[in-house]
Every structure is written in structure tokens, then in C-alpha cells.
């Protein structure tokens, strides 16, 4: 997948699973990830099937990713910003026990691939 027009917006750097990705200001996270050629950005909660952005308008929930530690964010509905840390959403979101700052700590556990 590639952009059909030259872009004159400023470059925004984000990370996906630790890999640096150059996106453009105004891109949705989903568009930024698709532009690199990747198709699958999550594994489903029930059968661990790889999935990627589909509807690009907030309806299908197939583009879920973890953004800055928050799980199950819709990549097509959120714009990139510099330094954003995006992780593959693998399985269901972890339940935070008593820590108010949700998932930062649990992201490691979460990638173990819940069915």
C-alpha cells in the first residue's frame, strides 16, 4: 500500500512494536501503519487470528492496537503524534488490578498471546 499523492505535511515519528515509523501529521495510526506495507496489526481475542484495519471509519474494530499503554484503541480513529508508542494488540486487554495507570506494566504479559 502507498500514498497516492505527495505529502507536504510535517513528519511525525511513531513506534510500532519498537520499530520506528515515519508518518505524517494528520495521519491516523491505521493509515500510518498501512503505509509501511503491514497488513496485520493485532491478533483476535478469541482465536488469535491476525487482523488489520478494514473499515477505516471506526465501525469494524479490526484495527485495535495498544497506544501508549492503553489497550484496544481504534487505530483508524486516532491521529499520530510524535513519540507515540504503538503495540500490537494480542488478545483481550489485561485487567488492571489496583494500579490506576492501567497497562504500562502489563504490556509484557499481554504479548503472551491469549486465545
Amino acid at each position: 500500500m502507498r500514498r497516492i499523492e505527495a505529502v507536504d505535511r510535517s513528519i511525525v515519528k511513531i513506534f510500532f512494536d519498537g520499530q520506528l515509523i515515519e508518518a505524517y501529521e494528520g495521519d491516523s495510526v491505521a493509515a500510518a501503519l498501512l503505509s509501511t506495507g503491514m497488513k496485520s496489526i493485532r491478533d483476535t481475542a478469541v482465536t488469535a487470528t491476525p487482523r488489520g484495519p478494514f473499515c477505516m471509519m471506526g465501525v469494524c474494530f479490526d484495527c485495535l492496537v495498544e497506544i501508549d499503554g492503553l489497550p484496544n484503541r481504534q487505530a483508524c480513529m486516532i491521529q499520530v503524534y510524535d513519540g507515540m508508542v504503538v503495540e500490537r494488540q494480542s488478545g483481550a486487554a489485561a485487567i488492571a488490578s489496583d494500579s490506576p495507570s492501567h497497562n504500562k506494566q502489563s504490556t509484557g504479559k499481554q504479548s503472551s498471546g491469549k486465545t
Partner: protein, 374 residues
């Protein structure tokens, strides 16, 4: 041009589909008529409890009927899976009611006590906050206690509905969609039901159209005084399992979604959602399980329960037009096994069994004799 069957079921929701499947399974050639998406479709808005602990308080026949259906639910679930491969997600680990005030706790205990008075198989435990917390880790500090009944379970209502439709079709039942009924005739004991999909004839007819039963019932000499009662439901993102039991207001599905609900609003034929009610549902859910505070809500809906004046079901055969039956309830999931088995047999046999007699709608027209001792 008309088509003839052994039985016609009007309604393709939870009650209609279970009844139609049950009749077809007994060897009766059955057609199920579904009005289409203009109907209010309570069967698409269910919470998914197979719930015994709150049904039929001071109305023993409903309590026993609920227990009967719940006790056959595993068989129904197994049978659907065997025929269609569809899993309903049925599980019966026992269900809790969680109380946030002493008043709620007292009221709950009173209900259990009254329910157990006329039931041999209803079991319950009242639990203080500490005992409850041991059984349900993660409860919030506002929880004062609750009740548990091993009789309760839950299932995925949409898989149940699809399973019933698919099993009915697999057994060569006929489904007609967009077939809202415009007229019902009766000639020498054979009913002729007119729809946009043609005329259907059969000696047996079951009205199982939810709120649609009200206008249909007089066509066959029945009276079904149902009213809508709205419930709103919120569904969270998929979360890792944290809740192994259904709660009357919160349940986690096999897939990980958490459903929040149990609102009751008398707002007529309005199946929208409202911020005020959802706020209340969310607030109570978070007080029960603080981990839900950060759960994202991905879907909400409103649906209309099918309520009779006393909240208990209606089962009846028309006395002026025998062969015409009606089944009406707001617990289509819990009672699905009852409808697929015992109720279908009642329709086939042409007689309402004694245990369902008390649920005749004539109870609404009988004036209560005032208590002279007051």
C-alpha cells in the same frame, strides 16, 4: 395459492424459534413467520442470563417452570450443537446478586426466602461482604454483601437464536422472513394466516410474536395485554477473564466482553439509549467491580422487554378457537428449553399441561377479592 403445514408459529424471536424448533423436532411440519427488521426484536437485545433466582416470587407455577427450563438448558444447548455445530456458550456456574446497600441485601434475602417456600429445588446462600469477596475477587468497598444461587447460568443469546433457527432449518422447518401477519382466518379448525409471503394454513397456530402478540391475539379470541419495558445494555471491550460467575447486572462472556445492564424504564415503544441511564448502569457496575473503571465501552443498545401486567408469562389456548396458542414472556433465553420441549409437546397435544394453567391470561380479568381482615 396457499401452503399447508401441521403448525404455524408467528414470531421468529427467542420464543417463536424455540417453539418452532420444538414442534419440528416432534415431527410436525412447521413454518415460522418472522415480521422482519421493523419488529422490535427483543430477541436481539438480550443480556443472556439463564436466571432462576428472581423468577416467580409469590407465583409458584412460574418459579417451577423457570426451574424446569433451566434444568433442561444443557440438553438444549447440546442438541443445538449436535445438529448445527453452533455453541451457545451455556455455562451454569451459579449466579450472584451483589448488593450495594443494607436495604438491597434485606430485599434480596426476602425474595430468596419467598421463592424457596414453594420450591424444592431452589437453593441459595446469603453472603456477607467478606465471604462474597472470597468468591468474587475484585469487589469494591461499597459492596455490603449479596446472594448466590447455584441454579443460575448464562449463555450467548445471539448464538442461541442463530442455533435455534439453524437447527429448525436443518430439521426441514420452513422460515419465512418479511412475513408480517395481516389477517388470521379459521375455517373448520384450520387457520389461514395471511402475510406478504402468501397464505399459510395449519390446524395448529402459535402466537409467539412478543409485543406483536397484542394486536394478533384478538384475531383468534385471545387477550394478550403486553406492554414494553425498556432495558439498556452496555458492552465493554474484550478483557481478560476476571469474572467466573454471572451477576444479575454484570456478566463476562466467553469471548471476554463484559455486559452491563438491568435497567427498567417504562418509556413506551422507544428503544433508544439515554446517557442518564447508562451513567447509572456504569456507576453501579464500577462500584461492584472497580477494575471496570477503565474498561472502554464499545457498544450500547436499548431493547424492549415484553411485559405482562404482573411480569409473569402467559401460556394459553384459545377457548373460542382451539388449536390457537400463545406464549409470552420476557425471559426468552431462560425459558428457551421449556419452549423447545414441554411447550412444544403441549401445542402438539392440543392441551396446556396443568403446571402451566396458572399462567393463563384470564388471571388479569379476575377481580381480586379484597381482603376483609384489613
Amino acid at each position: 395459492m396457499s401452503r399447508s403445514f401441521d403448525a404455524i408459529v408467528i414470531g421468529g424471536g427467542m420464543v417463536g424459534a424455540a417453539t418452532a424448533f420444538g414442534l419440528q423436532r416432534l415431527g410436525m411440519k412447521t413454518v415460522m413467520l418472522d415480521e422482519g427488521d421493523t419488529a422490535f426484536r427483543a430477541a436481539r437485545g438480550n443480556f443472556g442470563l439463564v436466571w432462576v433466582q428472581s423468577k416467580g416470587i409469590d407465583f409458584p407455577s412460574y418459579a417451577r417452570w423457570t426451574e424446569t427450563s433451566a434444568s433442561h438448558w444443557q440438553s438444549l444447548s447440546d442438541e443445538i450443537k449436535e445438529i448445527t455445530g453452533i455453541e451457545t456458550g451455556y455455562d451454569r456456574p451459579g449466579g450472584f446478586d451483589i448488593c450495594l446497600s443494607e436495604e438491597e441485601l434485606t430485599a434480596r434475602e426476602d425474595k430468596y426466602r419467598r421463592l424457596s417456600q414453594h420450591s424444592n429445588s431452589f437453593r441459595y446462600e446469603m453472603l456477607g461482604p467478606e465471604e462474597l469477596r472470597e468468591r468474587l475477587p475484585g469487589l469494591g468497598p461499597d459492596v455490603v454483601g449479596g446472594g448466590f444461587s447455584p441454579n443460575d447460568g448464562h449463555a450467548n443469546p445471539l448464538y442461541l437464536l442463530r442455533g435455534l433457527h439453524t437447527a429448525f432449518a436443518a430439521k426441514s422447518g420452513t422460515i419465512e422472513m418479511e412475513a408480517g401477519v395481516t389477517a388470521i382466518g379459521n375455517k373448520s379448525g384450520v387457520f389461514a394466516v395471511t402475510t406478504p409471503k402468501g397464505v399459510f394454513k395449519a390446524p395448529k397456530l402459535v402466537l409467539a410474536a412478543g409485543l406483536g402478540n397484542r394486536p394478533l391475539a384478538p384475531m383468534v379470541g385471545l387477550d394478550v395485554p403486553v406492554e414494553p419495558l425498556r432495558g439498556q445494555i452496555m458492552v465493554t471491550e474484550r478483557l481478560q477473564p476476571f469474572l467466573n460467575h454471572p451477576i444479575s447486572t454484570v456478566r463476562q462472556t466467553v469471548e471476554g466482553s463484559v455486559m452491563l445492564g438491568d435497567s427498567h424504564e417504562d418509556v413506551g415503544f422507544d428503544n433508544n439509549t439515554s446517557a442518564a441511564i447508562m451513567q447509572e448502569i456504569a456507576d453501579r457496575a464500577v462500584r461492584k467491580f472497580p477494575v471496570l473503571k477503565r474498561a472502554q465501552i464499545v457498544r450500547t443498545w436499548g431493547a424492549l422487554r415484553v411485559m405482562t401486567p404482573d411480569g409473569h408469562p402467559i401460556y394459553a389456548q384459545s377457548s373460542s378457537q382451539p388449536g390457537a396458542f400463545t406464549a409470552v414472556c420476557h425471559s426468552g433465553v431462560t425459558l428457551a428449553a421449556g419452549h423447545a420441549y414441554a411447550w412444544a409437546e403441549a401445542v402438539r397435544d392440543g392441551a396446556i399441561p396443568p403446571e402451566l394453567m396458572a399462567m393463563n391470561p384470564e388471571r388479569f380479568s379476575t377481580e381480586r377479592v379484597p381482603d376483609a381482615t384489613h
